[in-house]
Subunit: 384 residues, 2 copies
Amino acid sequence: MRVIVFGADGYLGWPTSLHLSARGHDVIAADNLIRRRWDVLCGTESLVPIASMKRRVERWKALTGREIKWEKLDLTSLADTTALITQYQPEAIVHFAEQRSAPYSMISAQHAVETQVNNVVGTLNLLFALRESAPDCHLVKLGTMGEYGTPNIDIEEGFIDIEHNGRKDRLPYPKQPGSFYHLSKVHDSHNIMFTCRVWGIRATDLNQGVVYGTGIPETDMHGELRTRFDYDDIWGTVLNRFCAQAAVGHPLTVYGKGGQTRGYLNLKDTLQCVELAMNNPVGRGKLRILNQFTELFTVNELAERVRDAARSLDLKVRIQHIANPRKELEEHYYNAKNSGLIELGLKPNLMSEQVISDMLKRVAQYKDAIDTGKILPRVAWNVG
Amino acid sequence: MRVIVFGADGYLGWPTSLHLSARGHDVIAADNLIRRRWDVLCGTESLVPIASMKRRVERWKALTGREIKWEKLDLTSLADTTALITQYQPEAIVHFAEQRSAPYSMISAQHAVETQVNNVVGTLNLLFALRESAPDCHLVKLGTMGEYGTPNIDIEEGFIDIEHNGRKDRLPYPKQPGSFYHLSKVHDSHNIMFTCRVWGIRATDLNQGVVYGTGIPETDMHGELRTRFDYDDIWGTVLNRFCAQAAVGHPLTVYGKGGQTRGYLNLKDTLQCVELAMNNPVGRGKLRILNQFTELFTVNELAERVRDAARSLDLKVRIQHIANPRKELEEHYYNAKNSGLIELGLKPNLMSEQVISDMLKRVAQYKDAIDTGKILPRVAWNVG
């Protein structure tokens, strides 16, 4: 299939590009490289060194003979976006190209505005470009489980049947996002739903949980094919961050009580899910919403798993509860459905002790590069 | 009360400023005047001639001795917004300052992006400025009944009690907006809800129906105090548009079957509602959502009412169904609650034949200025 991966320079976008290319898809990898600039601005850095996009696609071609077309492109330019889609006439689009850090979006008014404008405008431009130039193309958009918040009822996949005052309807599941970033994804979801209904856009919105992992077989083929790994307070997601903390003997920092439950999945499963969505497109005018995670954990459970895996590697690890910089429930009901992707054929790679051990070993290779001054949270949800 | 009215140059913002000033409030009227520029760009024009903001506030002072402070301000500037709020330390803010036309937002990608960026960024800046400089100020924000769409169950006021798989929660009412403009209001609503929860912002979100009317006693005091009146396809709301059509003998153009049901209210009641919300603020961290309309009508019922009122003025009026430029249900269940504002003390001015007759007479005074080339819809929700 001819597919454009937007956000192809990111933690997930790059392995997705490799995974799809390895499986015979024609991949166009597009990115504006802004994440590398945000690293400079935030004083953060991928723990695993990453090559330039140019070097990456050259190395991939040299090793496999497969070509990934690299295109520097900013989705906030409607003209450039439309031109790219017109040129390549993709059958599918995978859209990762968003500012994806909750703490980043909470730094200041400027960061909140930048996040929402970047994400909402990029997605709007993509929708208009699809309508204009590739109306039959299937959009696979990365959303987040964080759109739902933590309601006291089961979380369905995007829609819920509501009976109210003796009448029934199937309605969009209520959204209670927890940061300006998560809000931007809710805005996107509403915009996409509207264009499916009104223009006949076909889309799959993947409400993804928290991803962990250091790579996939394709990224492990060569140092220049590796994907980024973030452990800092701004970009590091919790399991990756815990592994970095364990590697340098830093306590595993649990925010608040640690009863926060979320959906998690292995990086390998992100790629499976994206490909399953792509290979099973929905019809014109349809919006399919899938919850993309394989397991639910509390933060405490994750910390305990990392501690236990670290022990078996003779790493001494302590768990420390620190003040929660976020505003969120720390003990709550959480039961989210995820049967849609399983039904499409997802075979989960679960979070075994082996998986965590392998992550710890990989991270340990780079432990001298870990800046422990970038681990504790510097951005608070509420000030003053 | 010291109140800043944002969007004070608009159809509703100006009468609101007068109404509040007449009742003893200290009013700061802020606007970036963009609506007058949009008129130039769209080739549209208020049927009722309107004076500049400077002339308006001077005339008001000359007639009543009351001062309205006029401030040219663009909410998309965080620095200007924060400075204004720091300077005046308002107890309440009334926020009308948004691009408010569904057809305008559907003209092109640029118009969709402009609408969402203008509305979302303006509101975000206002929220950050409140947090920074006036955390105790009560935000009265104009939303729209269009945020809900037309669900097959009763529409509650912002929240709905859901029982699902044996568990219960009170959740944000699901949103199904019908244009990029309506979507922008949904985005705002989610952003506001988040800041109430996380920062302790206090806010009332008024989900307003379609407003009709040519003025209020204060705008009728002098030609320079009048508010705008839009009858064209971009800015004209349905009852106002029908009155203009009746005045020039143009058929009343009903989009599609005309079974579309919406909430309506008299301009006078908008002002009552805003003042009631202002005078009954919610506590810190609370978000109150009120549905602001007084009556439900189908488009067919409105057309018949205008036809009947026109007949009694010896105007011959025909109703014509034309292809619906929008994508919406034309026959549907619609039962929206509006008890919140009634409980606060709203005394509705209902849509009597007298009210419509008075509108028709007022509009007839300007009928030579009606451009019948601007009545039929030029913007379609779906193209090609």
